[in-house]
């Protein structure tokens, strides 16, 4: 600022100007507190500058990062009022951007110097005014600096009588305050937005978050812990949060956390946590240290995620795997056993292979059916028909099946499937399904025993089969299955006779609903 000490009136004028500027700066910072946007604050700064200088309208613009264009920061209220007379509908939302660096304001930027042009239209840099802009009579432009760099320009127009040196000085004195106010507001708004984003995203994260100091004290948590457990901030602050942990998990949890705090190692552990209603759910608790520049731990940050459903699924999966191993090994042992018996009865290799293949197929069939139906139950009639079909027997005059719908649980299905297979093979090779004119009648019914268990009763009756010597090879396995295995393994009562006329077999099997590990 230069003091032009011409005479007393100049001094007074200078004092008056400085006073006005100080008051203006005061006003800017006072209003800045309440401004809700950069643009609103900009308009206020321009109003203040207009008041100090007497200009009719004004604007402010900021250079782009590339330095080749200007974006308008604000256009004064008085300027908008003028525009609206010509262009109703224009408003602060439609601030021009990407202005070229030309015209009088471009000159200010180019020279990085203030400019007064009181005969604006005739200034060599004049480019005229945009459509709808009132004609520019006089112009005052002052560059805006921040931290020593040129960042933009403030331009005022049409002071009645033209702009004077003292106006230039006044605006140059205001400029730093305007820049500071605007940039502070910008930073404040950016911080507020980022805080808001952080707050919202924390609440969205499906985890309970907390923080403690370096020693594990003064635990603080977001609202989700309180919502889950009903515990207050005070309750959780020391080690009170442990109260919400399941008693069986508590000691281990405390030990793990204390160990983590003392050796600075991150922690990951599952434990049950009690909800407000009193029910426990499995949570995965994790925490990690935050370190300062010297690698000392300053805070611990932790998160707890509900993994209850996952936990149950994992347990179920473990049981499934164990169950599967058991089943597979059992079945292999049974197959080996069946093979040994088939081979033991002697006979040509072809026959052995044939018998064994048939039995293996029967085993495979029942396994397949059992796993295919959703309930694991097999309809008895379907089972019988499947077995008959597998030995090449379809409905016909020689065959009659009758009985109610009976859904068989898996074990019973297995047993009856194998038994029917043996009976069918035997009938096809030597019995009613081979001899012309012979007949086979399969009948079944259900009943309820004294103790309430349901049972199924199946009879297989062949007629018209001449008495012939039945191959003992065949007889061995099938007989053992029906007469020994079914009673031993399934609690069935069975009878098997090779009477005149053909095979007669009766199987009475209880149908227990099998406890499902699956």
């Amino acid at each position: 600022m230069t003091l032009e000490l011409h005479d007393e009136s100049d001094l007074l004028a200078t004092l008056a100007r400085k006073n006005a500027v100080l008051q203006a700066i005061n006003r800017i910072f006072h209003e800045a507190l309440g401004a809700t946007s950069e643009e609103a604050l900009g308009r206020l700064c321009l109003a203040v500058a207009e008041d100090v200088t007497g200009a009719e309208f004004s604007f402010m613009a900021e250079m782009t990062p590339t330095g080749d264009k200007l974006h308008d920061l604000a256009i004064s209220d008085r300027a908008w009022a003028v525009f609206h007379r010509m262009w109703p509908g224009l408003g602060p939302e439609t601030l021009p951007t990407h202005l070229d660096l030309h015209g009088l304001y471009g000159r200010v930027i180019h020279d990085d110097a203030s400019l007064i042009a009181n005969d604006a239209p005739r200034h060599p840099d004049a480019i005229g005014t945009p459509h709808g802009h009132p004609p520019l009579a006089s112009f005052l432009g002052v560059p805006l600096h921040r931290q020593g760099r040129l960042v933009g320009v403030i331009g005022l127009g049409n002071r009645p009588g033209g702009f004077r040196e003292i106006d230039r000085l006044a605006v140059e004195e205001l400029a730093p305050a305007i820049v500071q106010a605007l940039y502070s507001k910008r930073a404040e708004l950016a911080l507020r937005e980022s805080e808001e984003m952080r707050r919202v995203s924390i609440e969205l994260v499906p985890a309970i978050l907390w923080r403690t100091d370096g020693a594990g004290h003064n635990k603080m948590s977001n609202s989700q812990w309180a919502e889950l457990t009903g515990q207050s901030e005070d309750e959780i602050a020391a080690w009170g949060w442990l109260d919400a942990v399941h008693p069986d998990d508590r000691a281990g949890a405390e030990q793990a956390f204390r160990r983590s705090y003392s050796n600075g190692e991150p922690l990951e552990r599952q434990m049950r946590i009690r909800g407000r209603e009193g029910a426990y759910r499995w949570f995965l608790m994790r925490q990690a240290p935050m370190r300062d520049a010297e690698s000392s731990v300053t805070h611990w940050f932790g998160a707890a995620t509900d993994v209850h459903d996952l936990h149950l699924l994992e347990e179920r999966q473990r049981r499934l795997v164990a169950e599967l191993q058991h089943r597979v090994r059992n079945i292999l042992t049974v197959v080996r056993s069946v093979f040994a018996r088939t081979a033991d009865t002697g006979g040509a290799l072809e026959d052995v292979a044939d018998h064994f293949r048939g039995r293996l197929d029967a085993l495979a069939r029942t396994q397949a059916i059992v796993t295919q139906t959703a309930s694991g139950h097999v309809d008895l009639e379907n089972l019988i028909r499947d077995e008959l079909l597998s030995v090449g027997v379809a409905d016909g005059e020689a065959l009659s099946l009758s009985g109610p719908d009976v859904p068989l649980p898996p074990r019973a299905a297995e047993a009856i499937g194998l038994a029917v297979h043996e009976l069918a093979i035997n009938a096809v090779k030597y019995g009613a399904l081979k001899v012309p004119g012979a007949a086979l009648e399969i009948v079944w019914s259900t009943d309820v025993a004294d103790d309430g268990t349901r049972g199924v009763h199946l009879t297989w009756a062949e007629r018209g089969v001449p008495v012939i010597a039945i191959s003992p090879n065949r007889q061995g396995f099938g007989t053992e299955l029906i007469c020994e295995a079914l009673p031993y393994q399934y609690g069935a009562q069975t009878q098997l006779a090779f009477a005149g006329g053909g095979v007669r077999c009766s199987i009475a099997m209880p149908l227990h609903e099998e406890g499902n590990t699956f």
């Binding site: 169950e323 191993q325 042992t333 056993s337 393994q489 406890g515």
Partner: protein
């Protein structure tokens, strides 16, 4: 103790061929528990999964009575409850020689005690 007939029957035959007197086989918990109370059992072979139940109650009773036994099973050790994890295990499908050897070993153990 085994619920699968063919496996049980094969085991019985293997043991009998070696001169072992077989009590059973049985496939149900109740039957097994009755036998060990009623008769003097030197050695027991237990399947873990009996279809409708696990054989753990029998195993625990045998431990209490001091009767040596092993699990002949399709399960791995990690599936067994803690107190039973040190019981000798033979995997299925079983090897006859392995079964005989294991039974001898278990009987030998009894002598030492």
């Amino acid at each position: 103790m085994e619920d699968e007939y063919f496996i049980a029957s094969d085991l019985k035959r293997v043991l009998q061929a070696e001169g072992v007197e077989v009590v059973g086989p049985v496939g149900r918990l109740a039957d097994a528990l009755a036998i060990i109370e009623r008769e003097r059992v030197d050695v027991a072979l237990l399947d873990v999964n009996l279809g409708s139940a696990m054989s753990f109650p029998v195993a625990e009773r045998l431990q209490a009575l001091g009767v040596p036994f092993l699990f002949l099973t399709g399960y791995d050790a990690w599936t067994l409850p803690e107190p039973l994890r040190n019981v000798p295990l033979l995997a299925k499908p079983f090897d006859s020689d392995a079964v005989i050897a294991a039974v001898h070993a278990l009987c030998g153990m009894e002598e030492v005690r």
